[in-house]
Symmetry: C2
Subunit: 318 residues, 2 copies
């Protein structure tokens, strides 16, 4: 007996935890026109949360608010059960502490109406380990956002072993309705996808700073003046597809493949088997969506110019 609303019919959202991520979710859902109830165990969270929402609001106004969007639609709950009592969706954004998440999700599970999906913002725990104390684990999913959740579209959705498929599908559909870009994962991987990639960069950066190989400023400039300008349009795979010239990913792997043996990062590379090569080449073909290399290059160039100008305008406004 589910009291699960249609994803498009959801009006009331509960946000549990009101730090940078939880507060960012509050701003996002308010901007999309939802009634939002927030709760956080910190006694003084309300002014901080309102400050965060107020700081985000001009950006959200500029992006375009949904009909009925209003900061007055934010309700501060005094207790956890009060926050979720009539929620139609719950987003949990507590600190990254497994024991804390397990306890909190169990309490949320006990207080949230059956059939209502509960999503965790965890940056890397699997739902299998987090849902261990829940009575109705079938409706718990990971819905991993990026900072700030009110601007960065990505949400990674994945269930745990005891999550039922309908809950994963429902969460993916709901996040799409709520204006997010969703990647639905079929299996649990620690760190999901984007954080594994981002964390690899971050760890290499920390090593370089620790060893005096680069400064914080050099690391940041090396991204903002370099590869970071390509990544808003094409991810690392299509970017390297273009690095192969007219031969694309196939040429790139045949030409630069041996570089995988180079000590260019502390991360060991996988063996570049024929199977992996073909998988990369075919993936790039699919992602190219009918565009040949020249068309992809033209798209990339237009995007890089637009991104350069966008960043210059922000820097120039200082």
């Amino acid at each position: 007996m589910h009291a699960t609303p249609e994803p498009t019919a959801v009006r009331r959202v509960a946000c549990i935890g009101a730090g940078v991520i939880g507060g960012g979710w509050v701003a996002h859902f308010l901007a999309r026109g939802y009634q939002v109830t927030a709760w956080d165990p910190a006694p003084d969270f309300e002014p901080k949360l309102r400050r965060l929402v107020d700081a985000a609001w001009p950006a959200l106004v500029e992006l375009g608010l949904a009909d009925g969007a209003d900061r007055a639609n934010l309700t501060i709950a005094a207790t956890l059960p009060e926050a979720v009592a009539d929620a139609e969706f719950v987003q949990e954004s507590a600190p990254e502490d497994l024991g804390l998440k397990q306890d909190l999700l169990a309490r949320l599970d006990a207080a949230t109406p059956p059939g209502v999906v509960i999503s965790s913002s965890t940056s890397g725990y699997g739902m299998t380990e987090m849902q261990s104390g829940c009575t109705r684990p079938e409706r718990l999913v990971v819905g991993h956002p990026f900072n700030p959740p009110y601007l960065i579209p990505l949400v990674e959705v994945v269930g745990g072993e005891r999550t039922e498929r309908w809950a994963v599908d429902w969460a993916s559909a709901f996040f799409e309705v709520a204006g997010k870009s969703v990647i639905t994962m079929d299996r649990e991987v620690p760190g999901f996808i984007a954080n594994r990639l981002q964390e690899a960069i971050w760890r290499e950066a920390l090593h370089m700073v620790a060893n005096g190989e680069a400064t914080v400023e050099q690391i940041d400039s090396s991204i903002t003046e370099g590869p970071g300008l390509r990544w808003p349009l094409f991810g690392p795979c299509l970017t390297f597809h273009l690095a192969g010239g007219e031969g694309g990913m196939a040429h790139m792997l045949d030409h630069f493949g041996p570089s995988l043996k180079s000590p260019w990062t502390r991360l060991e590379a996988p063996e570049l088997t024929d199977e992996l090569r073909d998988r990369m080449v075919e993936g790039c073909e699919t992602a190219s969506d009918g565009r040949d290399i020249a068309e992809l290059v033209a798209d990339r160039d237009r995007a890089v110019i637009a991104v350069l100008r966008a960043v210059e305008a922000v820097r120039g406004a200082r």
Copy 2:
């Protein structure tokens, strides 16, 4: 006895190797108003090179050409010595093959007027190992660009053991004059800075595809819809400075530091010593350039919105 011109006085540039990177350099230098001589050992390189320059030209026109910039300023050399005989700067962009680079740089060194700086586009070799066969190794530097060199500003400049300091300084100054963003490195690190970071992402991505943890399309979307939107303005360090909320990098490391022990990537993290923590915190303070967290957040939000719109415009034009 150097016949080294002032960086601002250079008019004639030789580009050796005319593939994706070499051809991109040709397009860049033409757009900046230089006389460019190109040479490549492939007998049919000229039509390919002209196609590449023609494809890049509309983007360069839109960005704004330098006075006197003209595709007619491209000269095709029949031989390597002819290409560099009266060059005031030489950029080498041959395939990534150490033996080939060593031979080629030795030939360039023999044919290029003394005092003229020779720069290699190598993606990761150290100049120390590449300059081994040169008679005048003091003027050889790495000048590592990013694809496409005519749009992505970054050039990483670093010398080898036998490079003299004046050549590194001259190359950095010249690249700035020629419209690039320069990071001058004090020591050789395999892969320099940006490629170490980029390669860490790339290897993690290859592992995930090899293990069926993610598809090419999911990997690319996880960047383009997620962290990739933040990186054009703030690199990984300042991005995480903001993830710490009002406490900045210090709070971020204290809060998420334990995540470095998580298996979120195949790259082992360094020990988060007090020294490393302080270095990251101080680096972020410097990079913040007087802006408090609220001001950084406002800058980031403006940039993300502008980048989102830039990318949407390119996607919408398809």
